[in-house]
C-alpha cells in the first residue's frame, strides 16, 4: 500500500503572507499568478516537512495536479489586456494562461525531472486523484508522486498537496477515505 508521507492543506488566500513566514528568497514567486503561488506554497510546505533540499535533483519524483477551473483566474486578468480600445497583450500574464504552469514552477523550484501532468475535473475527487497518481508511478524509477488538488478562482483558494510514496514505512494509507479526511 502506498503511503501519504506528508501533506499540506491550504485554504487561506493570503499567499504573500504565507510566503513571508517561509523566510526564503525566491523572487520568481512574485511573478507567478495566484494558482501557481498557491500550488508552489503548498508544495514548499510538503518538501520542507520532509526535510528536503530543493536544490537536489529528483529523478524519482513525479507531479500530478488537478483542479476544476484550470487557469481561469489568470485568464480573466489576461482577457482585460486584449480589450478593444485597450489592447496591450501581456506576455507576463499570457504565460500563466495554462493550468499546468504550476507543475512547471514546482518542478523548477525542486528540480523534479519526473512526469508532470495536469488534469481537470468538475470537483474534488479522491478517486480521480488516486487513479491519476497511480498512473504516474508507471514512469521508470518513479518512487513517489507529489499530487493533489490545486484550485484557485476568484479569491477562493482550495489546495491539498500530498507526497505519496511507494516503499514508505510510515504514513497514511493512500486511500479515498484518508484523502477525504485530510481534505
Amino acid at each position: 500500500m502506498k503511503k501519504i508521507t506528508s501533506y499540506y492543506r491550504l485554504k487561506d488566500n493570503r499567499l504573500t503572507d504565507l510566503y513571508r513566514t517561509l523566510e526564503i528568497s525566491y523572487p520568481k514567486f512574485f511573478k507567478m499568478d495566484r494558482l501557481c503561488k498557491a500550488g508552489f506554497l503548498a508544495s514548499e510546505m510538503v518538501f520542507r516537512s520532509l526535510g528536503e533540499d530543493p536544490q537536489t535533483p529528483k529523478h524519482d519524483t513525479a507531479l500530478v495536479f488537478m483542479n476544476s477551473s484550470s487557469s481561469l483566474d489568470n485568464d480573466m486578468d489576461y482577457q482585460t489586456t486584449i480589450l478593444p480600445g485597450n489592447y496591450y497583450p501581456s506576455p507576463a500574464l499570457f504565460v500563466y494562461t495554462l493550468a499546468n504552469i504550476v507543475t512547471g514552477e514546482v518542478a523548477i523550484r525542486n528540480k523534479i525531472f519526473g512526469e508532470t501532468s495536469f488534469y481537470i475535473s468538475s470537483g474534488f475527487s479522491a478517486k480521480e486523484l488516486i487513479i491519476t497518481a497511480e498512473g504516474a508511478f508507471d514512469g521508470k524509477g518513479i518512487r513517489r508522486v507529489l499530487c493533489g488538488w490545486t484550485e484557485y478562482f476568484k479569491d477562493a483558494c482550495d489546495v491539498l498537496v500530498m507526497m505519496v510514496e511507494k516503499d514508505a514505512a510510515e504514513g497514511l494509507d493512500f486511500t479515498e477515505k484518508n484523502i477525504n479526511q485530510i481534505y
Partner: protein, 372 residues
C-alpha cells in the same frame, strides 16, 4: 500496449483521417499567409459536417462541434459501443471555449467556459455514463491523453477509450502567442535555418483504443510505450540541453529497444529554440540516423489536438510503409546533424516515435508499432 480501432481528423484539410492524410501526402498546406499565417476551419463547412451526425450545430460551439464530429466518425469506424460503462472518454484541450471570456453575451451559459464541461458535452453526446478525464498539459496534452488511455486500460478499469483532442483559435490565443513573438508571418519552416516561428492551427481529432490481451498477436496498429518528463528548467522556454525530452526518449527506448524505427515524428514547431532543443535530444539519444519529420507546415500547431492529429497521420504513414516529408525545410538550421526528410520515402521499419514538448517544461514521447 493498446490497439487503435478507429480515428478521425477534422481540420481545414478535410473531415476524415484519409482526406487529411492524402492532402498532406500531396504536399497541401492549410496555412493561409494572407490570413495572418494561421490555419482555420471554415465554420459553415464545420457545421455542415456536424449536422451529418444528426445533432443541431447551433447548440454547440465550434470547438465542441469539431471534437464531437471527430469522435463520432472514429467511434463509427471502430464499431465499439461508446455508451457502455466499459468505455471512457479522455479529452485533451489547452484552452477549450476560452473565446467566451471575450463575449459579454452568448447563448451557451456560464459553465461553458470550464474544460470539464466541454468534456461532459462530448461524452454526453454518446450517452456515456462515465465522468470523462480531461488532460490539460499544454502542447503535450494530446500525447498525455493517449498515455492516460493506456494506463487506464492496462489496469483493466476500461475496455475502450475514446481520446479526443481539440483547440480552436481565438483572439485570446493568437494575441498571446503574438505577445510572445513566437508567430511566423509566413508558412513555418521546421528545422530550417530561416525559420521564423510557428503557425497556429485549428483541429479536432479522435482515436478509439481497445484494451490488448497479453499473448494476443492480432495484426494492427498499437501504442506500445509512452513517457512524460519535465525539464525543471523554465516555464516558457525549452531546456538547452533537451533534458526532459532526452529522459523521456531514454525511458521509452529502454522499454522497447531501438530496432526497426521507421521515423521520428518531431514536435518541430519551427521556433528557434524548440527545434534546436529537439535536435540536441535526438543527438544525445543516438538517433541522428533515423528519418525525422515535422507536420507543422501542413496544419500548423494545433495545440491540444496536435498529439492526436500527428499520431494519426504518422500511423497512416507507417501503415502504408512510407515516411511523410517535412514541409518547409531547405537549409539545415540546427547544430546537430538530424536526418530531416523532404521527400516521401519508403520504409521497412514497423515502429515510430512521436515527440512533443510544451510550456511548463513538459515533454512526451510515444512509441507506436505496426504488427502484421
Amino acid at each position: 500496449m493498446i490497439r487503435l480501432l478507429g480515428d478521425c481528423i477534422v481540420s481545414p484539410l478535410g473531415f476524415s483521417s484519409r482526406e487529411n492524410f492524402n492532402a498532406v501526402k500531396s504536399g497541401q498546406s492549410s496555412i493561409r499567409e494572407e490570413d495572418g499565417a494561421v490555419s482555420r476551419i471554415d465554420r459553415s463547412l464545420l457545421s455542415r459536417c456536424f449536422n451529418s451526425t444528426g445533432a443541431i450545430s447551433g447548440d454547440y460551439t465550434p470547438l465542441e462541434q469539431a471534437m464531437i464530429c471527430a469522435a463520432f466518425h472514429a467511434v463509427k469506424q471502430s464499431g465499439i459501443d461508446a455508451s457502455s460503462p466499459r468505455t471512457i472518454f479522455i479529452i485533451s484541450t489547452t484552452k477549450g471555449n476560452v473565446e467566451l471570456l471575450g463575449e459579454t453575451v452568448h447563448p451557451y451559459g456560464p459553465q461553458r467556459i470550464y474544460l470539464w464541461h466541454t468534456a461532459r458535452l462530448v461524452s454526453d453526446f454518446f450517452n456515456n455514463p462515465n465522468k470523462p478525464f480531461v488532460v490539460s498539459n499544454a502542447c503535450i496534452s494530446g500525447s498525455c491523453a493517449q498515455i492516460t488511455a493506456k494506463r487506464l486500460m492496462e489496469r483493466r478499469l476500461y475496455d475502450y477509450a475514446v481520446v479526443v483532442g481539440g483547440d480552436m483559435l481565438s483572439e485570446f490565443i493568437v494575441s498571446g502567442f503574438q505577445s510572445f513573438q513566437s508567430l511566423s508571418p509566413v508558412r513555418c519552416r521546421p528545422f530550417d535555418a530561416g525559420r521564423k516561428g510557428l503557425n497556429l492551427g485549428e483541429a479536432g481529432a479522435a482515436m478509439v483504443y481497445g484494451r490488448h490481451e497479453e499473448n494476443d498477436h492480432m495484426p494492427g496498429l498499437y501504442l506500445t510505450a509512452g513517457a512524460i518528463r519535465n525539464d525543471a528548467n523554465h516555464i516558457s522556454g525549452p531546456s538547452r540541453t533537451g533534458e526532459g525530452l532526452y529522459l523521456a526518449l531514454e525511458e521509452v527506448l529502454e522499454q522497447t529497444g531501438r530496432d526497426s524505427l521507421a521515423f521520428i515524428n518531431a514536435h518541430g514547431t519551427a521556433t528557434l529554440y524548440n527545434d534546436q532543443m529537439e535536435a540536441v535530444s535526438l543527438s544525445r539519444s543516438g538517433l541522428l540516423a533515423i528519418p525525422v519529420n515535422s507536420l507543422k507546415a501542413y496544419l500548423g500547431h494545433t495545440l491540444g489536438a496536435a498529439g492526436v492529429v500527428e499520431s494519426i497521420l504518422s500511423l497512416m504513414a507507417l501503415n502504408e510503409g512510407i515516411v511523410l516529408p517535412s514541409l518547409g525545410y531547405e537549409i539545415h538550421g540546427v547544430t546537430e546533424n538530424i536526418n530531416v526528410i523532404t521527400q516521401c520515402i519508403p520504409t521497412t521499419g514497423n515502429r515510430f516515435l512521436k515527440m512533443l514538448s510544451g510550456f511548463g517544461g513538459c515533454n512526451a514521447v510515444l512509441l507506436f508499432e505496426k504488427k502484421v
